[in-house]
Subunit: 666 residues, 2 copies
């Protein structure tokens, strides 16, 4: 996750004998695209084609779908330029330049300023730099905080908003294997979506776009990934990591497994239950795998061992410096803070995060209650979610007509009240107040059946009427929210106060770390452009060797092994054109390039800068990458450039698009 402004030239030279070249880097940087909806992509033709993942384009596909045309499931091929479909709300950014503005930012913060004063001065100078740059260049200009406050860089982007859909293979091919194969390998997904970027009604002709590789990469090839990893915690202190290990992860994991088991069993009872629970269940299972992966990583003593060694070494160097004391104290401050957070974490989750009240009805009831209390306050004194600037999105969610099913509400609320009881203890006074002399199951039933908050008109009326209106009807769910509100707000306040101490201490350490180590290490991910490198490389799992490349033959085989049943069913086009396809074409491959969420859709390029594949997932061992990179087993998964051409030509019969990718022009 290296900065393009400080690439790891020596490391690559030492490991592979390959020299990174400035022009090559500049070309790759300007061919890389950020999807502001969350994800990465790249220009792949002189006529403005941009390729990303199907799951990055999903939001756009959903928004353009209607009951008569399901772009998500059916996929799409634009027969002519006129058939390309406009996307809603899609913003693409292409990085043009970066500039170190650390000195200017730091100079604007008065010596000795701490807490709010320092934060205000910093926000002011950053806003000034951004405006000045935007006025001067016309480019989107963002000051990015790197190294947790060790550096501030100004990023300037060319911004595109006229984006049109050219091709999607349909979700069966893009997300073949569904949840069971998610975060696994071997894989057989064609996880792509192709757009064309327009400006002034015409396709753009980008100066930089990636040349397409007809064959994809071979095992052992040196490759690079250029994309926008979203967020990592690699610079967390050991005390922070131990808190995650001992408190946060086990708690989240227990919660997720409990909900997974609950909804899986309930879904099996009827197809209608399955339909109602499907989206929730997918999200729960995705999170469960994610935390399983993080836990596996943090329980690996090598990971924490390296972290401890690095921290010890940094502390040693700080102790030798005259100005090192502040950062050393910040480490101690964080350790104390983690202890304080650990003591209230589960209670805060249960009450304020409302894990103990898992239901849409409770969420709505509490929003109505708090809206009544918060909206009369001055804007700056409200809980942030009730601030004027968030009013639209709050009301959008609060007045949503989305269906709420009482049976599922009783199920999830009853189970989470049981969890609340087991977690905080049966004799806890809050638990006793919440249960009100009933069993969790009975109480959930009484609350869900008794509340009127599922009625949107009722919500509007209470919201309009303020605090008095919210309490007047004696709605049992709103009264439950009131019962716990004082304690819940108090624990949130304590929790946020501890988090603020933690963040300020992190910034002190971040600055000190950068002063000592400079750019010899990369900063934590910030959804800005980064460079990763590695090779196409298999791995070993439980003594079994996993080969780095799969083929189209493997796709057909895996589908057949599962009796072509969902989520291993193939689109009809793949079934019909099976005999046309070259079965040996490589489909997906893994590399040891370091990626994380946000890298989805990143181009994988070879040393010639050619597009050889597109990142779409990692194996389960990638997940601890939030905390540290492991090159032994962690693998990023790409769809092969060769498979994309083969599928376009033989399965989707879109020769013009294949030719445009292959030749680089229409």
């Amino acid at each position: 996750m290296w900065l393009f402004s400080a690439p790891p030239r020596e490391k690559i030279q030492a490991a592979y004998g390959y020299t990174l070249d400035d022009a090559w880097l500049n070309h790759l940087m300007k061919a890389s695209v950020r999807f502001n909806s969350g994800g990465s992509g790249s220009f792949v033709s002189a006529d403005g084609l941009v390729i990303t993942n199907n799951h990055v384009g999903l939001d756009a596909l959903q928004k353009m779908s209607s009951p008569s045309k399901n772009y998500v499931h059916d996929g799409f091929t634009a027969a002519t330029a006129a058939d390309e479909v406009n996307c809603l709300d899609l913003e693409l950014n292409v990085l043009q330049s970066t500039e170190d503005v650390t000195a200017r930012v730091n100079a604007a913060v008065p010596p000795g300023a701490v807490g709010d004063d320092a934060a205000k001065a910093r926000r002011k100078v950053i806003a000034g730099i951004e405006k000045e740059s935007k006025d001067a260049t016309g480019l989107r200009s963002d000051v990015v905080t790197l190294y947790q406050g060790g550096q501030y860089h100004l990023y300037r982007y060319k911004r595109y908003t006229d984006i049109r859909l050219v091709f999607s293979p349909g979700q069966q091919a893009a997300f073949f294997g569904g949840d069971p194969d998610n975060f696994e390998y071997p894989r057989y997904d064609l996880d792509i979506c192709i757009f064309r970027v327009y400006e002034n009604g015409q396709p753009v002709h980008p100066e930089h776009f990636l040349k397409w590789s007809e064959t994809g990469p071979r095992e052992g090839d040196l490759v690079f990934v250029s994309g926008h990893p979203g967020r990592t915690e690699r610079l967390f202190t050991v005390a922070q990591l131990e808190m995650l290990r001992d408190v946060v992860y086990p708690s989240l994991e227990r919660d997720l497994k409990r909900r997974d088991a609950l909804l899986t069993a309930w879904s099996a009872r009827s197809d209608e239950n399955m339909r109602r629970a499907k989206a929730r269940l997918f999200s729960i299972r995705n999170s469960r795998k994610y935390y399983d992966g993080l836990i596996a990583g943090i329980l690996d003593p090598q990971l924490l061992g390296r972290k401890t060694a690095d921290e010890t070494s940094l502390k040693y160097r700080l102790a030798q410096r005259t100005d090192g004391n502040e950062a050393l104290q910040a480490f101690d401050r964080i350790a104390v803070t983690e202890g304080a957070i650990a003591r209230i974490y589960v209670r805060e989750q249960m009450l304020e995060v409302a894990s103990g009240f898992a239901s849409d009805s409770f969420t709505i009831a509490r929003t109505l209650l708090r809206a009544g209390d918060e909206r009369p306050k001055p804007n700056g004194e409200r809980l942030p979610e009730f601030a004027e600037q968030r009013k639209d999105s709050l009301e959008l969610a609060l007045f949503s007509e989305k269906p709420i099913h009482t049976d599922m509400e009783i199920l999830t609320l009853g189970d989470s009240l049981t969890e609340l009881t087991e977690t905080l203890g049966y004799n806890d006074p809050t638990v006793q107040n919440v249960l009100a002399g009933k069993s969790p199951r009975q109480r959930a039933s009484e609350l869900v059946l008794g509340t009127k908050v599922r009625d949107v008109a009722f919500r509007r009326q209470l919201y309009a009427g303020g605090a008095a209106a919210a309490l007047a009807p004696h709605d049992p769910m709103i009264e439950l929210a009131r019962t716990i509100d004082d304690e819940s707000r108090a624990i949130r306040k304590s929790y946020e106060a501890e988090r603020e101490i933690e963040h300020q201490a992190q910034a002190v350490i971040g600055k000190a770390r950068y002063d000592i180590l400079g750019a010899s290490t990369y900063p934590d991910a910030t959804f800005t452009l980064r460079l990763a490198y590695g090779t196409v490389k298999g791995y070993e799992e439980d003594g079994v060797r996993v080969a780095p490349l799969t083929t189209i033959a493997g796709l057909y085989q895996r589908s057949a092994d599962h009796g072509d049943k969902e989520p291993f069913d193939l689109p009809q086009s793949w079934v019909d054109r099976k005999t046309d396809v070259n079965m040996d074409t490589p489909l997906d491959f893994v590399t040891d390039c370091d990626i994380i969420g946000g890298n989805s859709g990143s181009p994988t390029v070879n040393t010639k800068g050619e597009f050889v594949g597109i990142i779409f997932d990692g194996n389960i061992e990638v997940l601890p990458g939030d905390l540290a990179y492991d090159g032994v087993q962690a693998r990023s998964v790409s769809t092969d450039s060769a498979a994309i051409l083969e599928a376009l030509r033989k399965v989707y019969r879109d020769a013009p698009l294949a030719d445009e990718l292959s030749s680089g022009r229409r």
Copy 2:
């Protein structure tokens, strides 16, 4: 769960104006059958037909199956008497008489004898009574401890061992709805299996058998259930119940949900995974539902409220008696003991019960290790599972050729080592010793791939060689077992010592309770014959009224609602003969009769003593029945006698069998 020797005449008279009659009771008692494999049944013809549940007969069906004939799945119809199939290992008991021997047992225990001395004296007199009765009557004679030691009754049984299969409907019809419908209602199961009892090569002609009702019961009918409930804890003290609520149930529930989520996800990856995990997963899900039900019950304040009131009242009466002090002290002793058990429970589960090492390989390794240590000891000093009298079953399990799959072993061991770490804490010295510097996942992989205990020849060799042989090969799994063995044995010893104190205190309370309350309440279940009563009655759940009877039409509808997919698929015979069947025939019904595990297969009879149905399950609210009976929502589920005749005649086309049931003779 009333004793036939002390039936609740007044209660039934008061509630229903119906008078229990001695001849009626004697007839029902002698028509009731105990399946010693675990379950109940009844004689239903003068020519020795016995009906029970399919799941009670399952073990027999499995034992008679071969690769060429699957009695479990396909079902069976005996065309002629000669076709009836012999069952292996099936013992049926029919209760002939009971006798109160309390005075004789108590008189044999010397005044002042406590602990082992009292236990030995009691065992001796009981053995004497049983032998004397057997010699005198030729009947199987068991002295049963009732009211936790308040009473001792001698039960005499007629014993049958020549049992032959007459009819089974096949598992799809018997267990229609599978795990999703397990413990649920409405239901649509034909959960029956019909045997014929032989003696001296001829069908027996029992003096007592139940007359068959052609129509089944109607809503509101008073009915009785005569069967053998297995085990309840309804006489537990409040302190014991609180320990279950706060420690035991939450721990087991967490464990089960974790394993459910793990194996469900793994099973979805491939059909082969599904096949390997299927039996384990079924058992986990069954237990998960069971504990969910128990937790729902124990978190119902009414249940614990009634228990507390009963206990307070008993203590009050004890305090008024000159001899009440011993029992009052026993309550206190139990409370102290529960505290001690609570402190070690989770650790004992993780280490000695080996929840932290969930894998066949670990179980085998530890058995080999301990066999080496235990077998040289005198028989009386060994851990009970290594005693001479258990040698055969120990060796049968240890040398079993059942397949052990390394992938599933690594999966479950890795996950349970993670659970061990989270539960006991990462820095716990035992956890650190177990992990040996690896992550749980890596350690599991290294252990499973490194051990040779999956090789049965290797096991035999080590077992034969004793302790030295077990340790000589430095097998990593055996060494792991050795690592924790001292601590594990020590914690088991502490745990069992506390349990012994608890049992002795329970016996003191049991005796005192019986002295005060006599047979005005029934004793906890002991897998002996009990009478339950109630009516055919629907119930309300979350504001929805659940009707008491289902019909055959509902079976076809439920199958269609699920696209005839497993476990909602119908046997071909039901599909083929759909038009022949009377759709309005009642299929299953619920009553508020008090049942529990062991009651499976019990006859449900009407006031005329006619067989109107057969108990096969309860709804989810029945599960807290382990702790207390709840008549509001708890319902026992029966297959209707009318559906059995209709299915035999129209679907299975076995008119002779239907006629025999209907007329009571062949």
